[in-house]
Amino acid sequence: MKADIRVALVGNPNTGKSTLFNVLTGLNQKIGNFPGVTVDKKVGYSSLPDGRTAEIVDLPGTYSLYPKSRDESIVFSVLADKANELSPDLVVVILDATNLKRNLLLYTQVADLKIPVVVALNMMDMAKKADIDINVDAFAQKLGVPVVPISARKTEGIDQLKQTITFANKVALQQDSIDVEAIAPQLIARIRQDIKVDNAYFALQLAHQHETLTFLSKEQSDHIEELEKEYDFHSQKAQGAETIARYNFINDLLYDTVTQKITAEDESLSNRIDKVLTHRVFGFIIFFAILLFMFQAIFAWSKYPMELISDGFVLAQTALHHYLPAGPLTNLLADGIVAGLSGVMVFIPQIAILFAFISILEDTGYMSRVTFMMDKIMRKVGLNGKSVVPLIGGFACAVPSIMSTRTIENWKDRMITIMVTPLVTCSARLPVYTLLISLVVPNKNVWWIFNMQGLALTAMYVFSLISAVVVAWVMKHLLRARERGYFIMELPVYRMPRWNNVLHTMYDRAKTFVIQAGKVIIAVSVILWVLASFGPGKRMDNIEQKYQQPQYVALQKSAPDSVSRLIASEKLENSYAGMLGHVIEPVIKPLGFDWKIGIALITSFAAREVFVGTMATMYSVNGDAEKMESVQAKMRNARNAQTGQPVFTLAVAMSLMMFYAFAMQCASTVAVVYRETKNWRWPAAQFAYMTGLAYLASLITYHLLK
């Protein structure tokens, strides 16, 4: 879509910026990445009263143009760099009317870049309730820009805002807030002259941020560095002086335009809620109750849609086989691509539900309280209060959880969180565990109420959390910190969640997952399909011919299913995957695994749950996961050809579970870790350490139980 004017939304976190974005653009938005970095870029379109279309860019929430995280660093680049593909014609700065002082800092910084600015004074309804009286006209006059009072949640003032955007001036008219040049007069003058920047504040920001800005050339950056030495520029001192000057301006401004009736220190509602929610006893009880509910809901609510999706894909596969001519191309399409697609799509319900919860918890302000309560515990093991959410989300699926680590500003904390999240028992491990547990753990009750199989499953979940914590603790000592860790965080007032935002988040996350992880999963599924369907030489043909022999043809008539199962299992055994299973047998023998399990390990390389399906094929039952009992029966009766002993002893099953507990058998996670870290070394290191741990844990388990 082509737009006539580009408008950027800028504001502090928790000011209702996303709500305003959604109100302005409706469903007419798209999500992408900002060029060069993995920061979600939200762009939407809004039609203006005069018939023109405005492209609205939602920039990440930030308290200042001095970035504290990767997300925040985008804001300055987009606003200041005229060559940026998103460089706006107009900036709408959203201010929280109930918290003007801190909000205005960012406004004065943006205004000093001398881009045309409009102020949206949000949460006017809340300000009235809090007896904050803002003289909007005087306020606008002092700033020199249009100021529109709005309430994004109640969609009040949106028409006036659109009107103001339509008729906004093309030149910047705002009043100067501080004397920028006074901060470093000679340096600013030299940068303006040498780098050819006309704006003084832009020049000053270049002095602060030149090392991380991508739009500067190496020569320019080096030159700025030299100038800084020449004029003895100290970045932090300069920033401190600037901030103090800005707040002086803000205090004067607010003194003249805002009056707040001082009500006798009455306890705010938020404070009363906090007394309960962050209470030393109830706080934790409530938190764990919420987690439990979330956890239950993710499983219970996603069960039906997940079945629907996988059934739908099975139908599609059958239809493809039925209507297309038989041959390798049809097989590739149906068993490779469609099956791979199904493996991606089936996670959509869990991702959507997880993110619905996360966005509700964030929207209400509860998430920052969780961070507040958990920070000390998490810090002990090298994590951060904000790591709680990804780790919990890991119980559903590591992929969205790793995407949610972006809120962690500290690089080291974020990396450790990304590295350990896949250890948490995700839902894809569940079918594997259920199959193996029911195979070796008796379905009996102990102490009347506890089912032994249930206990075994719970033990696997608890074990996964413990291993994540231990690995995090080890990594805390291995990784070197890039910057000092700190924890200065706003605790926003409690608010009702905005259901519209929740829906948007669910949709955004599911879409990002399908597009990003989908590519890798499908590629890997196709490769695995080739490995499992083709074999060297004429092996496959020989099998086909073998079953053309009279005795099988006769059998085919009486029991067509059993023959096709025999063919499938024999083909898999003779495929490249089957050969690989034989090749790796010496390596996995110490773990108690035979080549059949080896094949399952290879086919479930991209997605753990494939293990069950492969076991079904290997043990020649109808490859339908629904028929779990028949797989179990076959596996239980499986005997080692040489010794005659059962293959799936307690030791083997436990060893296998340990393997799946640790091994990184998930292509989507590898893909998303690459996407989030932008460096192949991280997913590679993760894959290596997890596989190594898996091998070790299986080895120990097998030999202890043998």
């Binding site: 308290y63 200042s64 001095y66 504290k68 109930t98 918290n99 002082k101 801190r102 800092l105 932090q236 001192k237 920033q239 401190g240 901030t243 103090i244 707040y247 938020s270 404070n271 906090d274 007394k275 962050t278 209470h279 030393r280 706080g283 934790f284 920052s368 961070t371 507040f372 309560m373 920070d375 000390k376 515990i377 000092r484 700190y486 924890f487 200065i488 965080m489 706003e490 605790l491 926003p492 007032v493």
Partner: protein
């Protein structure tokens, strides 16, 4: 007196900072010399703390609070 030494419900006025890097971040968040600051609550494990400053609630670790000197 440092901010980290205040008990829940106690107030003070920010005088200066002992750590330059931290001071820049704190000032950005509205925690400036001359501002009144009140300890609102302490996390269940004793750290971090939540304070009221510049009209909103901010949480910070004890170690960070100890860089803020009060009048």
């Amino acid at each position: 007196m440092r901010l980290s030494q205040l008990k829940v419900g106690e107030k003070g006025t920010v005088k200066e900072f002992t750590d330059l890097e931290m001071s820049v971040k704190l000032m950005e968040m509205g925690c400036l010399p001359g501002e009144e600051i009140k300890v609102e609550r302490i996390a269940p494990m004793g750290d971090p703390i939540a304070v009221n400053v510049a009209g909103y609630q901010l949480s910070l670790r004890k170690r960070e609070a100890s860089t803020i000197i009060l009048q």
